[in-house]
């Protein structure tokens, strides 16, 4: 029997509310099946299974708010004998470590837990809550899972009282209800909470990550012309946005500068052999989300476009998958039309780079023999972690990206 646990969905998320179960006890489960939908500060997220088996029983009921690492359900494995319950944290947990053993190796799975346990003891598993803290929280109608523990990992009366007093309770409160919350038709976001989550993650990033920045202005005239020709030939449903070839080009350029792609965890940089480009998408009102297009470098431009459309649609309808949020190896932030010329972005830890693309705008451009002509240009800024690379790496990335964008047909 394996414990199916609430996975972490990024550095800025430590809890979620179960919205509904999509798999019931007795149902067979394959890797990648969506088992449940949870609601987070980033909206509704679909949680996937990481192994085969049969769902044995649920451990959490819809409406309950749970911490990352909490057991959501138990999955019966084929070769289950007896009742020993082995906890397996999904591989996407917290910081996707790249050099992990395949999780089919049982010993690997266990090792993974122990290494995670020490780092995330305050969020993983059953937290220690003093009896009176539980009582006080219940009296106040506060869901204990929303309360941060003290430095020692314990939730005592002091933590509960502080939570209630600061009024956070009122703001954040979604009390435990017996019934499932109404099925959300549109993403119900608590923007204050999301703003805080972004703030926490970015504060941590600015405090801990030694950023450096390198920028280039890239001539995108060829890209735009190629798109125009392509789209004229294509039906409405097959048309491309420049974002698609851009993302593909970024992924290919990253392949040649691996020090911008991966994670800085446990004091060391771990480059990733796979490239999952996270695309920062702003949510109307306020808020950001950066779900990944998996193996971006291996997709064609059309697949990139399809992936993007699918992601944006699901961002809007609030159906992002856990793995998409948890494992981008790099992020790209594209401002889009009619916005601003450039953006200097902040790295989303534990990633080591983020690529900021300003709007494509018409600007004077010096062409051969010193003549100045109008051109469609885009300013691309790389913010990268100095612990993993230095300016030269980012400059090389920008040169490669430039070269690729001059021949969009070859992407």
């Amino acid at each position: 029997m394996t414990a199916f646990r609430m996975p972490s969905l990024g550095a800025d998320m430590d809890k979620a509310t179960l919205v509904e179960w999509l798999k019931q006890p007795g149902e067979a489960i394959k890797r990648g099946d969506i088992i449940a939908v949870v609601e987070t500060v980033k909206g509704a997220i679909e949680i996937e299974a990481f192994e085969e088996g049969v769902l044995d029983r649920h451990a959490v009921t819809p409406g309950e708010s749970v911490l990352v690492g909490t057991t959501l359900a138990f999955i019966r494995n084929e070769n289950d004998e007896g009742t020993s319950t082995k906890a397996v944290v999904p591989p996407e947990d917290i910081t996707p470590a790249i050099n992990r053993k395949p999780e089919t190796e049982k010993s690997g799975a266990i090792e993974m837990i122990s290494s995670n346990a020490s780092r995330t003891a305050h969020v993983v598993g059953e937290r220690k809550v003093s009896p009176v803290a539980r009582k006080r929280a219940a009296e106040a109608g506060v869901d204990i899972a929303r309360i941060s523990s003290g430095e020692d990992g314990i939730i005592g009366l002091a933590q509960v009282n502080a939570f209630i007093e600061t009024g956070e309770a009122e703001q954040k409160e979604r009390t435990l209800t017996q019934d499932a919350p109404p099925k959300t038709e549109k993403p119900s976001l608590n923007l204050d909470v999301m703003r805080k989550a972004i703030g926490d993650a970015m504060t941590k990033s600015k405090r801990e990550v030694p950023h450096y920045y390198v920028a280039s202005t890239i001539n995108c005239t060829a890209l735009k012309s190629w798109l125009e020709v392509q789209n004229a030939k294509r039906t409405v449903t097959e048309r491309l946005l420049y974002v698609a070839p851009l993302i593909k080009a970024v992924a290919r350029a990253l392949k040649e500068t691996p020090n911008l792609n991966g994670f800085f965890t446990e004091g060391a940089f771990h480059p990733s052999t796979r490239i999952h480009v996270g695309v920062a998408a702003s949510l109307r009102g306020e808020g950001l989300i950066a779900p990944a297009i998996h193996d971006t470098d291996e997709l064609g431009v059309d697949d990139c476009m399809k992936g993007l459309r699918d992601l944006v649609t699901r961002v809007r309808t609030g159906r992002i998958r856990g793995s998409e949020l948890s494992n981008p190896t790099v992020t790209i932030s594209i401002l889009g039309e009619d916005t601003a010329d450039s953006v200097t972005p902040v790295i989303y830890p534990p990633q080591v780079a983020i690529i900021g693309c300003g709007a494509i705008v018409q600007r004077p451009w010096v062409v051969a023999e010193g003549a100045v002509e109008p051109r469609q240009v885009m300013t691309v800024t790389v913010a990268a972690d100095h612990r993993a690379s230095d300016g030269r790496t980012a400059a090389r990335f920008l040169r490669t990206l430039d070269k690729l964008l001059q021949a969009p047909e070859a992407l």
């Binding site: 009896p131 009176v132 003290g150 005592g156």
Partner: protein
């Protein structure tokens, strides 16, 4: 009310003995060296001269013998006060106390009472080594049929003896050896009887409950004072009666403060502190904010060497540390 006067704990015991001997002619004091020597801790100094050999009786070194005689006298209608030098020596009369004094009312179907009062010194701190320094109050507090008292203040030392004599059942009074020289104010005029049914709140606070008795009370109050300087306010409960325990008062305080620290000079394993802790978890579990802390004596026979003796015993510093631990600060 009116005037007070300052006396020592020892004086308080002596006055109480003298008053009892004066008020009730059935009362007599019996024990080793209580007469001519004036008592091992000088509590009966001068009483032989005042009340005579009939009522202040020196005994042979035979705890079982004279305690048994006292129990017999009580059965026969007297009100004997037995002094045993230390709780360590009381083990020689444990059979008389546990098998006879404690049981006779029950075994006679209520026909017999044993209104005996047995006083004994307890505790460490005077470099008297392992044969004279232990705190075995808990052994007696375990036994139904006995009442066990631990006066921790001069006022209680003055008042508890008479209240004990008025009790129809055997009462053990533990006098901590380190308290005899403590001074305190008592009312100039009586009556000086003391409540022997309830614990006393010696200090009021909101952050933690310190529960103690006897010789540990001064240390506990000192710890509470020092914590108060850091803004931590503690309820200090003096149990006074070790059997029965005042569960109601203990629980009420813990429900208020949510944290409990028990200070007990007995060894931790199988201690009275363990019993108090159990009662708290039985009755106030859902009001606790931290595990119950116990400050007890190191699990070794009390050492003779002063620095080792001090290291083995509960101290102000250890109590402060335990409170901070319970408060997670």
């Amino acid at each position: 009310m009116s005037e007070t006067r300052r006396i020592t704990y020892r004086d308080a015991i002596r006055e109480a003995l003298s008053e009892a001997l004066t008020k009730d002619e059935r009362v007599f004091l019996m024990g080793e060296d209580v007469g001519r020597y004036g008592g091992a801790y000088a509590c009966s100094k001068g009483l032989l001269e005042e009340f005579g050999e009939e009522r202040i009786r020196d005994t042979p070194l035979s705890e079982s013998g004279f305690t048994g005689a006292g129990i017999g006298a009580a059965l026969a209608g007297m009100r004997p006060i037995i002094e045993v030098m230390t709780v360590n020596f009381s083990l020689l009369c444990l059979d008389q106390i546990v098998n006879n004094a404690a049981t006779l009312r029950h075994m006679s179907g209520g026909q017999f009472s044993v209104p005996v009062v047995i006083r004994m010194a307890t505790g460490a701190g005077r470099q008297l080594a392992a044969q004279h320094s232990h705190s075995l109050e808990n052994w007696y507090a375990h036994v139904p049929g006995l009442r066990v008292l631990a006066p921790a203040t001069v006022v209680d030392a003055r008042g508890m003896l008479w209240s004990a004599l008025e009790c129809p059942d055997p009462v053990i009074i533990f006098e901590h050896a380190m308290l005899y020289n403590e001074e305190g104010d008592i009312a100039s005029e009586g009556p000086w009887t003391a409540d022997i049914d309830h614990a006393a709140v010696r200090r009021d606070g909101d952050d933690a409950t310190l529960i103690t008795y006897g010789g540990s009370l001064p240390k506990t109050l000192a710890a509470a004072n020092s914590l108060a300087e850091d803004g931590i306010s503690c309820d200090v409960i003096d149990l006074r009666s070790l059997r029965p325990l005042d569960r109601e008062r203990i629980v009420a305080s813990v429900v208020k403060t949510h944290r409990a620290v028990i200070v007990d000079e007995g060894w931790k394993t199988g201690s009275l502190a363990g019993e108090v802790s159990a009662q708290i978890t039985e009755s106030a579990f859902f009001d606790l904010d931290a595990p119950v802390e116990r400050v007890c004596t190191a699990e070794a026979p009390i050492p003779y060497a002063q620095h080792l003796e001090l290291a083995a015993l509960p101290s102000e510093e250890k109590i402060v540390a335990a409170v901070r631990k319970a408060l997670r600060i």
